[in-house]
């Protein structure tokens, strides 16, 4: 059982859902990312989504766009991201899912990618613009190393499509809470909970929901229906605000603690209908 499965198994025994924290690797600087990841872990993050910055982040809103630009300017490459994973692994068992657009991984090669991230201690990956139809070679490379392959489900996905996406997924299923790109929103979308309910019927995998969740109250609202909540832009906004400041780590830890407190739910997630 890899660290992701262990994490969800452990949480099932207790009284909280997973806080899945997204961090753009290399922002403000590749040397600092491991330290920031550990700060998020201290605050209560259960899983880290480590973002590989990309020049043309088609699914991202302004906050993560700017984070990617800063990270690229600081010289972040997939090779550096792999070093960062190694550095995190030296002192932590926090599960790490590499989050990337397809092209940097394609350029690196699926085989080399899977081999290197596995060896560095990553637990899985999600490639935003790799749909299941085109994923065969990737799946083979990842499966061979027991790495989780997380795919996305969306409000436009039919029940059949959700089943297919779940079938290709291991670790958890990532559900996109809202139409549009990543970013902070005032309220959670009306589409979020119906999607979680449909996904629940489509798979036994843990469900994680993301896009647009930035506040404790958003997370509280979805927590009864999911095993995990993914927060990205709210985290990267803090990184943007505190940049090189020595306070950055403490601020991230504080944010993670606040978010995690919204995830305490006594009973297991059942979709709220059972």
């Amino acid at each position: 059982m890899n660290r992701i499965d262990q994490t969800f198994a452990r949480l099932r025994e207790g009284d909280s859902r997973a806080l899945i924290a997204y961090l753009t690797a290399g922002d403000p600087h590749p040397d600092r990312t491991a330290e920031l990841a550990l700060a998020l872990e201290r605050g209560g993050a259960d899983i880290l989504e480590l973002g590989v910055p990309f020049s043309d982040p088609m699914a991202d809103g302004p906050v993560i766009q700017k984070a990617s630009e800063r990270a690229l300017r600081a010289g972040t490459t997939l090779e550096k991201v792999i070093e960062i994973i190694r550095e995190i692994r030296r002192s932590s068992e926090l599960p790490v899912v590499v989050f990337s657009y397809l092209n940097p991984v394609l350029r690196y090669g699926f085989e080399a990618f899977a081999a290197k991230i596995a060896e560095a201690g990553a637990d899985g990956a999600l490639l935003t613009d790799l749909n299941i139809e085109a994923a065969e070679e990737y799946l083979e490379a990842m499966r061979a190393r027991d790495l989780a392959t997380v795919f996305l489900g969306a409000q436009t996905s039919t029940d059949e499509r959700l089943r297919q996406v779940a079938q290709a997924s291991t670790g958890f299923l990532y559900l996109v809470s809202t139409a549009g790109v990543t970013g902070m929103r005032e309220t959670i979308s009306d589409a979020a909970i119906p999607l979680l309910e449909r996904a629940r019927k489509a798979t036994d995998l843990p469900l994680a929901i993301g896009f647009g969740l930035s506040r404790r109250e958003h997370i509280e609202a979805v927590a009864p229906y999911a095993e995990g909540a993914i927060v990205g832009s709210a985290i990267m906004r803090v990184v943007e605000q505190y940049g090189e400041s020595p306070e950055l780590g403490a601020k991230l830890e504080e944010l993670a603690r606040e978010l995690k407190s919204g995830l305490k739910v006594p009973q297991p997630a059942t979709g709220g209908v059972a």
Binding site: M58, T77, N103, S157, R161, A179
Partner: protein
């Protein structure tokens, strides 16, 4: 409508060999499937084809002439040069061909709003035009740098009732405009059609845009046979995303004797960042950008490279996936023409034929001019994809001797 009856590509996943396909945020899979379904139904529907043909004839001004450049050919002293005059179409470029086709699909889907990206502004103008014609709301995304260098087209779009949104990320050119339009579409797909402006992006755009543009080659082949007899020896077209070139080339693909040359933007030089030559320049390699797998200008780490061309419509880091396939097959030859040569071709065509081409089209003209002297007895057919009115500002900057 000009359906390519025997086309076996793309396959059911939208792939041309290893290229093409669909690489998109999951939320766009269903909207793309809807377009695919509506398009493939429409393509078989005689009423749809008749409506499009009527619009092409009565609104856009088809068929466009096939014109023999006698003075230019004589001046060059080799091949005879012919132009397919897409520059004479309504709105001034071939882009109206795929805009009218897609507008009819928008109507079929019951949507009331379109968004589009544009580089040179010709696709934006054509989109704004069909929006006015059909009563759609229209927003066009355009890089800030392109808004500056194609300011006349920005005003034309506004005059036609479209909103033009400045894109201020990355290189502030076409690549960034496509990225932003895609982002917007992930939020608005329910009400809005993304009227993509070239034979690129996720399936079904490459096949759909190609089919709508194939009217160029179908007409040209018939006109050439009727008036000149036989087939041309070599076809030339500029390749940005690849729509005007595929439109000309596709109906000739089965004619083995016909050679085809796609001309990319060679910019200022060979180094990555100085050109937009995905096939013939440094840094082009298979990759995925904007939902399709094709040749992409990129660095060693798989980050998309910046590009340069004097021509905003060719200044793009990727290229339509069918071109990647045709290149690997060796069916089409790809070459690049530099900024200076394109500008020189503008002057030559203006002086010898009284035709001022768009800077994009001038790349194809330049390559034909370069090869003509050493090809006596051959007949060259060049796609003149657009007219140069929009580029007068750039011409003035680069031709100070005329002011």
């Amino acid at each position: 409508m000009h359906v390519i009856e025997n086309a076996t590509l793309p396959d059911s996943l939208g792939r041309f060999g290893p290229y093409g396909g669909r690489y998109v945020p999951e939320i766009l899979v269903a909207p793309l499937e809807q377009i695919e379904q509506v398009y493939f139904e429409a393509r078989q529907d005689p009423a749809f084809q008749a409506e499009l043909e009527e619009l092409n004839r009565q609104y856009a001004g088809r068929p466009t002439p096939l014109y023999h450049c006698k003075r230019l050919s004589e001046h060059l002293g080799g091949a005879q040069i012919y132009l397919k005059r897409e520059d004479l179409l309504h709105t001034g470029a071939h882009k109206i061909n795929h805009c009218l086709g897609q507008a009819l699909l928008v109507k079929r889907m019951g949507k009331k709003r379109i968004i589009a990206e544009t580089g040179a502004g010709q696709h934006g103008v054509a989109s704004a035009t069909v929006a006015a014609l059909f009563g759609f709301e229209c927003t066009v995304y355009m890089g800030e740098e392109d808004m500056r260098r194609q300011e006349l087209n920005v005003f034309r779009m506004r005059l036609l009732g479209a909103r033009v949104e400045a894109v201020k990320t990355g290189s502030r050119t076409l690549k960034d405009a496509v990225t932003q339009a895609m982002r917007e579409w992930t939020a608005n797909f329910e009400t809005t059609h993304y009227l993509l402006g070239s034979a690129l992006g996720p399936h079904p755009f490459p096949v759909m845009v190609r089919d709508f543009q194939s009217v160029i080659g179908t007409e040209a082949r018939a006109q050439f046979g009727e008036r000149e007899g036989g087939l041309p020896d070599v076809l030339f077209a500029c390749v940005g995303g690849g729509s005007n070139s595929l439109g000309l080339f596709h109906p000739f693909l089965d004619a083995e004797s016909v050679r085809m040359v796609g001309v990319e933007a060679g910019g200022r030089g060979d180094a990555l960042g100085e050109h937009a030559a995905r096939f013939s320049g440094e840094g082009g390699a298979p990759g995925v950008l904007h939902g399709t797998r094709s040749y992409v200008l990129q660095d060693e780490a798989g980050q998309i490279a910046l590009t340069h061309s004097v021509s905003a419509g060719l200044d793009y880091a990727s290229v339509g996936p069918e071109h990647a396939y045709l290149r690997d097959q060796g069916r089409v030859e790809y070459t690049a023409c530099q900024d200076a040569d394109a500008l020189a071709a503008v002057r030559t065509l203006a002086r010898y034929e009284g035709i001022i081409p768009a800077l994009e089209s001038a790349h194809a003209v330049a390559e034909a001019i370069r090869r003509a002297p050493s090809a006596p007895g051959q007949r060259f057919l060049v796609n003149l994809s657009g007219r140069g009115d929009k580029d007068i500002g750039i011409f003035r900057e680069n031709m100070p001797d005329l002011d």
